[in-house]
């Protein structure tokens, strides 16, 4: 009997592995088939990690205008002083009032010999929604804060889905 024990262990191990594999495979398949249209009550979000940034408002103020302060002695990035933060906030307000002064992107250092650039708000996409006279909503996507404000002011969002392609013969 002893001579059979390694074989039994192997079979038990295989059975366990099989059980785990089948269970895992089923679970994976269930996740993989988790429809994008009709999600389950418990939605797996494991591929997404959320990190709460400590003291974000301070960082936001600090980051306005996307500038870095370097300590002249240590050459390290340092936090902005209160006076500097106030100056940046004032500058931000001036920029908002004069949106034609679209800040260009900033060249940034990158690894492995690459060239890098940090994008300004002028290169972001803005979703703008407008309520139509009939109460329906129209959403459009535009690039840049300036274009977004224009769309907002003009209420130019127009929907097309109800009309296009709906009135002619298709296969």
């Amino acid at each position: 009997m002893k001579s059979q024990q390694p074989h039994l262990y192997f079979r038990r191990a295989l059975r366990f592995a099989c059980l785990v594999t089948v269970t895992t495979g089923f679970f994976n398949t269930a996740l993989a088939s988790d429809s994008e249209v009709a999600p389950a009550a418990q939605v797996d979000l494991s591929a997404v990690t959320v990190i709460n940034v400590a003291n974000p408002q301070k960082m936001r103020d600090y980051a306005v205008g996307q500038r870095v302060y370097i300590d002249p002695d240590t050459k390290e990035i340092r936090e902005a002083t209160l006076e500097e933060m106030h100056e940046v906030a004032k500058e931000n307000i001036r920029n908002r009032e004069s949106l034609k002064a679209r800040p260009a992107a900033t060249l940034i250092p990158a690894k492995s010999g690459a060239r890098g650039a940090r994008m300004s708000a002028a290169y972001r996409s803005y979703s703008v929604v407008t309520r139509n006279n009939d109460g329906t909503l129209s959403e459009v996507c535009v690039t840049g804060q300036e274009a977004a404000n224009k769309s907002l002011a003009a209420g130019t969002a127009k929907s097309n889905h109800e009309e296009k392609g709906a009135t002619h013969e298709r296969e």
Partner: protein, 488 residues
């Protein structure tokens, strides 16, 4: 039956089953390794607001959060998860995110803003030299984080995303807030997941940094997108053009296409076939396509179509034909048994078409009264209308009138069943290039002629279904052409 033999067969069967299950599991694991990019969302909101808003909320549409903040974060994570399932990258994709008060009024609002935070060029394994790539894609191709970290996510993140925390509140599109469920059952609300999917796509690379209005490249170099932007009139890509040529190209409505293998191969599975076309003899468009806007009333244009001469209505002193009133005998004779050419203006489209129908016209072409392309559709509803109608541009209307002033024009108005809605005759998908230039919307979206509606049209349609890849959508295919398709 021999018991031992039975057990032996059972064991063999179980072994095979087990081996199959293991193979499936390994395959799944391999697939997961290939398909799932890790996404890190940096919550940039202060305590008590935005993602941290403690206002109680009832779970909705699969979103089990019990506060407004939790539900926003769950919806954000859900959209990020949908994208992560589609993408493969060894480098996590980082998003700095917040819900903040953004500009809005009683009847309009900025829903949110998103885009690439950083871009890189000339990194290891970059397919195109001297070309900008969005940071997330550049990192994926280089298999490393390319930014020299500052230690601050606000700078270092690949994508920036900010959405309106005030939406739905008084004086900010009151009553029309975000729907935070995952099931797309948004009703009259704005489906946040759809908006997020669209905006994340821009951040991942569904955009060019080249300015279509001026033709200027970003910091003197093209975006990877520009290598695939092909102009059917100039017969070259945007990287092969001068600034002036790109300016012209950005106005080439339904003539600017995406020349990428992944999108073109997937398009027949995604886009419906059957595009209405107008052909004339003599050719009033000199070989170009006459663009049409379709009517929301009357019968559909068929593949059999209508072949007839074109007759022009002229009931105004200046020679234009509005057809807002019952037509006189001369105009009736001019369009009887023909395709009627009528000018836009002064009354509803349905009135014009009904008046033409009443005197025996077979179909109606409404010529726009202001320049611009593509022509919008003909709106309205009138069940009594039994002839088809379509809208043409002001320019095509003028060309048609010019030829009619010296002779006859024969026309065929029919659906071409071989063509895809939203693609050219070679099956290459149109980019949005309206004339005049739509600042902020042109170029970095699919054309509005795409049907079924696509996630990356500039107008976000309410019938979208949280899909980003074939057979429903062409967003992922385009990203694949730019480099997202590469294996890990």
């Amino acid at each position: 039956m021999n018991a031992n033999n039975f057990h032996g067969k059972t064991a063999a069967f179980l072994f095979v089953l087990c081996a199959m299950a293991m193979a499936t599991s390994f395959a799944n694991a391999y697939d997961n390794k290939q398909e799932n990019a890790q996404i890190i969302v940096y919550n940039f909101n202060d305590p008590g607001i935005g993602f941290n808003d403690p206002t109680p909320a009832t779970p909705v549409g699969g979103n089990t959060g019990t506060t407004v903040g939790q539900q926003r974060l769950n919806a954000f994570s859900y959209a990020a998860k949908l994208w992560s399932k589609q993408l493969n990258s060894k480098v996590p994709i980082t998003i700095v995110a917040a819900f903040d008060p953004l500009p809005c009024s009683a009847d309009s609002a900025v829903l949110g803003a998103a885009g690439a935070n950083n871009a890189f060029a000339d990194f290891p394994k970059a397919e195109k030299p001297a070309t900008w790539y969005n940071a997330a894609l550049a990192n994926k191709i280089a298999k490393q984080t390319l930014i020299e970290p500052t230690g601050y996510p606000y700078y270092d993140a690949d994508i920036f995303a900010e959405f309106n925390a005030d939406l739905g509140k008084p004086n900010c599109l009151e009553g029309s807030g975000f729907y935070l469920g995952f099931d797309n059952n948004h009703g009259t609300l704005i489906d946040l997941v759809t908006v997020l999917l669209h905006e994340f796509a821009h951040g991942l690379g569904f955009q060019t940094f080249t300015d279509g209005y001026t033709g200027e490249q970003f910091l003197g170099m093209p975006h990877i997108w520009d290598h695939f932007l092909y102009d059917n009139a100039q017969k070259r890509t945007w990287v092969q053009m001068t600034n002036a040529e790109r300016q012209v190209s950005s106005l080439n409505t339904q003539g600017l296409v995406w020349d990428g293998e992944k999108v073109t191969n997937a398009a027949p599975r995604v886009l419906a076939r059957g595009v209405p076309e107008l052909h004339t003899v003599p050719d009033i468009a000199n070989g170009a396509e006459i663009l049409l806007g379709t009517a929301s009333f009357g019968p559909a244009i068929t593949s059999t179509g209508i072949r007839a001469k074109v007759g022009q209505v002229s009931d105004q002193v200046n020679g234009t034909g509005l057809a807002c009133n019952p037509l006189n005998a001369a105009n009736a004779a001019a369009i009887f048994g023909k395709i009627a050419l009528i000018d836009r203006g002064a009354c509803a489209f349905t009135v014009k078409v009904r008046n033409a129908q009443n005197v025996g016209a077979l179909a109606v072409l409404v010529a726009d009264n202001i320049p611009g392309s593509p022509p919008n559709n003909l709106g309205g509803l009138d069940p009594s209308i039994t002839i088809p109608a379509a809208r043409i541009t002001n320019a095509d209307g003028l060309s048609l009138k010019a030829v009619l002033s010296t002779g006859e024009v024969a026309a065929t108005l029919a659906v071409n069943l071989a063509r895809l809605n939203g693609a050219d005759k070679r099956g290459r998908v149109f980019l949005y290039a309206p004339n005049p230039f739509a600042d902020g919307s042109s170029i970095s979206h699919y054309d509005v002629s795409a049907f079924p509606n696509q996630l990356m049209e500039f107008s976000i349609n309410s019938d979208l279904q949280h899909q980003v890849s074939p057979p429903s959508d062409l967003t992922k295919s385009l990203l694949d052409d730019t480099g997202w398709a590469g294996d890990e």
